[in-house]
Symmetry: C2
């Protein structure tokens, strides 16, 4: 059995909300490839694992290098290692993380002509098997977001229940009934009122809430 | 940045039931190391990823090579890649799978003086970070087993509700109320009566059930 090298890469699917007509929508930053294979195609931020860094450190580094962002949530998704993943010479195993960034952070991404945000469910065809990987990440996000603290990682520290509902609507891709949503969120105990109200709203300004997560969401 | 090689290994945590005094108990096969590092220590079955096989194929191969077993369930657990995982020279990233084998299969493991089954929660200290990995796998198994089709992967094709309860008791490590268990399992619709009864029991032989899983559990 000839010993062929297996290369190890770490990639990250980064989710953030971007304001578009109709409300915030789930987006992700992609990087345009500047060399073969798949020259010109968009791909997930990532790169080879360095011998002196952990998998998580590699995810944070490539995320920062390509987008300038720090995640508010970072978690291992899955390791993809099919033999024919599309690389030219080496066999590449990709350990994929998924990350959430806060709305205000997502709006200030590093300017780079080869980095752009696309709607999570309406992006161009991606290089390698990255379409499949993004599909997995969206599915995981949907499964984990509902009525947990995780949705708070997409919002500022203080938020209204309307903003929180918009996060859920953006991820789930459908409208939610405001009264039902409020009832269900309050029942989970994942948010607590701060006592303050949203500034700049004159008539009945909505109450502000914060996450009750004991652990700091920043990872 | 010097390009040091990162080696890729695939390991598998294999769970099966073994009959001991007091009923079936969750066990796992381990392999005794016959070379340094950690010479003589017990470790998870596994080995280097070959360039021509997928991760899942590697998991099945190393599982078969070391224990002679075919799994009834096989799923990726997590990829472990801390810098100081205990190898001597190379940096090793381990993609870990977890597997279930049926009771009758677990009883017929290949004879090998360097392979032995140990209780999942009372095994000797393992090589490398394998204690941590087994802990993760037990946690995942507990979380996924309850009232899903997964528990059937530890049983023969037809089983009594008493045998199913013993599987859950073995995994959870505590006794369950038979009447409550029957009610909850029947409510999930994961099992259906075959119409037959257990052979060899003269007085009120218990009914046999089968899994309602549409997909074949064998992977």
């Amino acid at each position: 059995m000839p010993e062929q090298p297996v290369a190890v890469a770490v990639s990250t699917v980064i989710f953030g909300l971007q304001a578009v007509e109709g409300g915030p929508t789930l987006h992700l930053p992609l990087v345009q490839r500047v060399r073969e294979p798949h020259f010109g195609r968009w791909a997930l931020p990532g790169g080879p694992l360095r011998a002196d860094e952990s998998l998580r450190e590699a995810a944070r580094r490539t995320l920062a290098d390509t987008t300038g962002l720090r995640p508010s949530h970072l978690e291992q998704l899955y390791t993809f290692g099919a033999v024919d993943r599309g690389a030219v010479q080496d066999r590449v195993v990709s350990i994929v993380y998924w990350a959430l960034v806060r709305t205000e952070v997502a709006a200030t991404t590093r300017k780079d002509e080869h980095v752009a945000w696309f709607p999570a469910e309406a992006h161009p065809p991606l290089a390698f098997d990255h379409d499949e990987i993004v599909g997995w990440a969206v599915k995981r996000l949907k499964a984990k977001l509902e009525y947990t603290h995780l949705s708070h990682a997409l919002l500022p520290d203080e938020f209204t229940l309307g903003q929180l509902r918009e996060v859920h609507e953006a991820v789930l891709g459908r409208r939610l009934d405001p009264a039902n949503f409020r009832r269900r969120v309050e029942a989970t105990g994942t948010v607590a009122p701060t006592g303050a109200h949203q500034a700049g709203v004159r008539h009945r300004p909505p109450a502000l809430y914060r996450s009750t997560a004991r652990e700091e969401l920043l990872t």
